[in-house]
């Protein structure tokens, strides 16, 4: 069977070119759209006074990200499996460090950044990748105990509670949602007992609801999202402008550079709300293209996972699909926020938004995904990894 499938799927290329093209296309769109969305802010801001300010930084981040991705690609996936626990601990340590005043920097009321020379490192982004690597490893190691609440579920649940606690201290509710989705998704894929999973899901819903209701800051965001037109100049300001951008875009958009919302109306136009600018300038058609590229990446990630499993590379299978879940769910959250489906969270659009840490970690994750696929293809052709 292995021989058959190897012949059937015998790749001509050493890695998944279609996936590579989708990533390259998204990055190219990102360059154009970050520039388009930031140009007015960059030009008007007394501190920057240069219309290329964000574009240049974005290109630098992308360059660093590509270099980092190249470096990450050199590591065999076995390396990540071996050090998954340590990577997770580093992630947790960073999450602790960011909470220490003097190390962690506060922006807009949230302590999310650690200043590192040029880049502000966002530990929650590191944590997303660390969760993929760690929970995949955990699931593989404990695969025969996943039916057990105490032995199979409790340890990873404990670890995730710690992460959740630290993320909420920042606070970074959005990252928490992504991390939890990855962890639950991997446990589910790994075969966790359905009763445990159902109970966990129910608990998560209750926990999220409690968190929202008990925090005035989150409640405010949720209320603003339910009806932005109730208070369009206060709580609903950002969302109402994002929705207007979508409405102005219609089917094919107002054209590149034509967005009015990016002219100081829509805050965070080049970061969390870049999709609104894309939707305004390229309309529903543009949104479909971008969404299609993300769907393609997610689909490829799951496919690479399935291939790995066929090769009995279970860790790699879970890592690939974990990355797929990560990118898919974060894309959904971000665009959902842009369109008023979800409350504002402060999540970037992967590969698209302006932001150093997110770009770097997204690229690293994709490098690992490509590495998994690369190894699969070598094995299928009879090489060693």
């Amino acid at each position: 069977m292995i021989g058959n499938s190897a012949r059937r799927y015998a790749p001509i290329t050493p890695f998944d070119e279609a996936l590579g093209w989708a990533i390259a296309l998204l990055l190219s769109i990102s360059l154009v759209m970050v520039y388009s969305a930031s140009i007015a802010y960059a030009e008007a801001d007394a501190a920057t006074q240069n219309r290329y300010f964000y574009l240049i930084r974005h290109m630098i981040f992308m360059g660093i990200g590509l270099t980092g991705a190249y470096a990450v690609f050199q590591f065999p996936t076995a390396f990540w499996q071996k050090y998954a626990g340590k990577v997770f601990i580093i992630g947790v340590v960073l999450l602790v460090l960011v909470l220490i005043p003097g190390i962690g920097r506060v922006v807009n009321g949230a302590r999310r950044w650690i200043g590192l020379f040029v880049i502000n490192l966002q530990p929650s982004e590191v944590m997303k990748l660390a969760t993929v690597l760690y929970v995949a490893d955990y699931t593989v190691r404990k695969s025969h105990k996943l039916h057990s609440l105490k032995e199979g579920f409790a340890p990873v649940f404990g670890a995730m509670v710690v992460v959740a606690f630290l993320l909420l201290r920042e606070p970074d509710f959005g990252a928490l949602m992504v991390v939890m989705s990855i962890a639950m998704g991997l446990l589910f894929l790994g075969g966790i007992n359905m009763r445990i999973f159902t109970g966990l899901a129910a608990m998560a819903v209750v926990a999220v609801a409690t968190l929202i209701i008990t925090s005035p800051y989150r409640l405010k965001r949720v209320l603003g999202f339910l009806d932005p037109w109730d208070d369009p100049y206060g709580k609903g300001y950002q969302l109402s402008h994002s929705l207007i951008a979508f409405g102005r875009g219609e089917w094919f958009g107002v054209g590149l550079g034509g967005s009015v919302e990016k002219l100081f109306y829509l805050p965070e136009a080049h970061t969390d709300f870049i999709m609104a600018v894309i939707a305004e300038e390229f309309g529903f058609a543009g949104l479909l293209v971008v969404l299609g590229l993300y769907a393609w990446i997610v689909r490829r990630a799951f496919h690479i996972g399935v291939e790995s499993k066929k090769l009995e590379r279970y860790y790699q299978a879970l890592v690939a699909q974990g990355i797929g879940i990560w990118l898919g769910i974060q894309t959904f959250f971000n665009i959902g926020v842009n369109m008023g489906l979800l409350p504002t969270k402060g999540l970037t659009l992967p590969l698209m938004s302006f932001g150093g840490s997110a770009m770097l970690l997204n690229m690293a994750a994709l490098a690992i995904l490509l590495r998994v696929d690369w190894e699969n293809r070598r094995i299928m052709r009879g090489y060693k990894v």
Binding site: S143, H144, W251, V260, A317, I329
Partner: protein, 582 residues
């Protein structure tokens, strides 16, 4: 390859992962559903709700801008500006688009705009408002300082402020505009339509900081207001105002007015009132100062009326200048007509020169009340001058059918009939314009407007000669003489009618005359209200102001002297004051 089923529940039967294709498909399906939800939501927003969202957007970005038409300039007859618009800035705020501002910046803003912090807070308190004035019409320099604070939601807007170079010298005539740029008083109000022009309109999209992104409709360009070229000569105006102000001050009078007319064209060369105000500061709200007395105040003209019944009689051929009248006091019913310095007999010329009430009334009584009313009506008494001022009054000339005999007599020397100074000065054009009444023109004329013949040119000439004797030795108006020119004119002193009774201590002193008397070019009319420094006779309180204004105006107009050698002014201290009664 092993195949796992989801039903495999045996604890020991799973040495490796249960990554069943079912669970993988389930997760992919969940993600696909989420993506489909995004697509559905996008369709809803971008297609179904596009109108609503675009309207919301337009409410935020779309702005209709007014392109202000430049208000027309008001100039004098030589093009000297009398009212011009200069650019100023107005600071406004959009509380709806303001973000939280550091308190220090708000304090600085309040300090620059001279607003109290509480006052500023009140203006910015309504966060739904998109437009509120913070301070209007400040200097461009101050506006730049305010904008340098860089507070989002604060913007400036260019406006125009009216500036009046002539200041108080013609404040009531020109009037002024309100803070909105519309005329409020005077000619600014009367000629609003012509001066204002038509504002244009531009519909644009604006970014949040107020920059215009693009036009979304055709631009309607503004139509600037037209220039109003007045007949006024600024130099004569200033001179007249200065002389009037001096006369009012010297005589400790309550108020005064002066009118200068071109006796050949009817053009208004100057018109001033005292007390006045500075139209540039706009802080003066006293209506006493703002009143254009020469046009809207009516009064009994006293002896300055006497030339009209006499002109009527000359024109009818009923009298001649040398005809002798019995000027002893006489009675009409219970009332007695008398002069203050009675003489048994006077020629008609002397009646004018000495200003005899008895003589004037006897001339008037040669006519029926209807004839006299008709004549007065024809020279414009009781009718608005229609010069084009706001609030012009018609004066008061009762219909002849209601006249009692004594009233016909008193009306001949200016009691029982009320006029405005402008109306009275205009009536004198029948003497300067060969018997024809000219309309008053505020604007400069290229050719005179049609005049209405009232008396014959010959009667007009005879009147001029008789009126000349008033300023000569023995007349009541010797202080109105002008070196080098023959001056014809008439003085008047009228008791003021207060609460239905004539006051012995409240008077109006008047002098109206023209020069050069042989071929008159200018008419000057001076009225001094309630002189309080001793003398109150028109010849002495209004005569000097008349003389100085006339002398200066004749020189300014370049009018050739008609009496270079044989006119020698009597030194003031040698001029006997002949006091007329009315």
């Amino acid at each position: 390859m092993r195949v796992y089923s989801m039903n495999t529940r045996s604890p020991k039967a799973s040495p490796a992962l249960r990554m069943t294709p079912g669970r993988v498909r389930l997760v992919l399906l969940a993600l696909a559903l989420l993506f489909l939800a995004l697509i559905g939501r996008a369709l809803y927003l971008q297609v179904a709700q596009q109108d609503f969202l675009q309207n919301q957007g337009e409410a935020r970005f779309r702005r209709a801008l007014v392109l202000e038409a430049n208000r027309g300039v008001i100039t004098d007859r030589n093009g000297e500006p009398l009212a011009i618009s200069s650019p100023v800035q107005t600071i406004w705020a959009s509380p709806a688009s303001m973000e939280p501002v550091p308190p220090a910046k708000l304090r600085e803003l309040a300090r620059l705009l001279e607003l109290g912090p509480a006052e500023l807070d009140a203006k910015l308190s309504d966060r739904k408002r998109e437009f509120v004035y913070l301070k209007r019409q400040i200097s461009p320099e101050l506006a730049d300082k305010v904008m340098a604070l860089g507070i989002p939601g604060i913007a400036k807007q260019q406006e125009f402020r009216r500036f009046y170079p002539a200041g108080e010298s013609m404040a009531q005539l020109i009037g002024f505009t309100g803070v909105d740029g519309r005329g409020q008083e005077g000619l600014e109000l009367a000629r609003e339509k012509m001066l204002a022009g038509k504002n244009g309109r531009r519909v644009v999209l604006k970014d949040r900081r107020g920059h215009i992104i693009e036009d979304v409709a055709a631009i309607e360009y503004p139509k600037d207001g037209q220039t109003l070229n007045l007949a006024i000569d600024q130099r004569i105006q200033y001179l007249a105002y200065r002389e009037l102000a001096a006369a009012v001050e010297v005589n400790k009078a309550k108020a005064g007015s002066i009118v200068v007319l071109d006796g050949k064209s009817g053009e208004l060369l100057a018109l001033a009132n005292v007390p006045s105000f500075n139209p540039n500061s706009r802080k003066e709200l006293d209506p006493e100062r703002r009143r254009n007395r020469a046009v809207i105040d009516m009064f009994e003209p006293g002896s300055t009326m006497k030339p009209f019944p006499i002109a009527m009689a000359l024109n009818a051929g009923k009298v001649n200048p040398n005809m002798v009248f019995d000027t002893n006091p006489y009675s009409i019913g219970p009332a007695r007509v008398r002069d203050s310095h009675p003489k048994p007999a006077m020629t008609l010329t002397e009646v004018i020169q000495k200003s005899s009430n008895v003589g004037a009334s006897k001339v008037a009584l040669l006519f029926s009340p209807e004839q006299m009313w008709t004549f007065y009506d024809e020279v414009g008494f009781g009718r608005s001058v229609h010069a084009g001022f706001p609030g012009e009054i018609a004066g008061r000339l009762r219909h002849w059918q209601s006249w009692r005999p004594i009233e016909q007599a008193t009306m001949s020397f200016g009691y029982g009939v009320s006029v405005s100074l402008l109306q009275l000065a205009r009536a004198y054009t029948i003497f300067t314009n060969n018997g024809s009444l000219l309309p008053v023109s505020l604007t400069r004329l290229s050719s005179p407007l049609p005049a209405k013949p009232i008396i014959s040119p010959d009667a007009a000439r005879q009147m001029r000669e008789m009126l000349m004797t008033v300023t000569q030795a023995g007349g009541t108006g010797t202080r109105a003489q002008v070196l080098g020119y023959n001056v014809g004119g008439k003085s008047g002193t009228a008791r003021k009618l207060v609460n239905g009774g004539y006051q012995a201590d409240k008077h109006r002193g008047l002098f109206i005359g023209f020069a050069p008397a042989t071929n008159p070019r200018l008419i000057v009319a001076v009225m001094i209200d309630e002189p309080g420094a001793g003398s109150y006779y028109g010849g002495s309180v209004a005569g000097p102001a008349f003389s100085n204004t006339m002398a200066g105006a004749l020189r300014i107009m370049g009018v050739e002297p008609d009496a270079p050698s044989n006119n020698s002014l009597l030194p003031v201290n040698q001029v006997p004051e002949i006091r007329e009664d009315t």
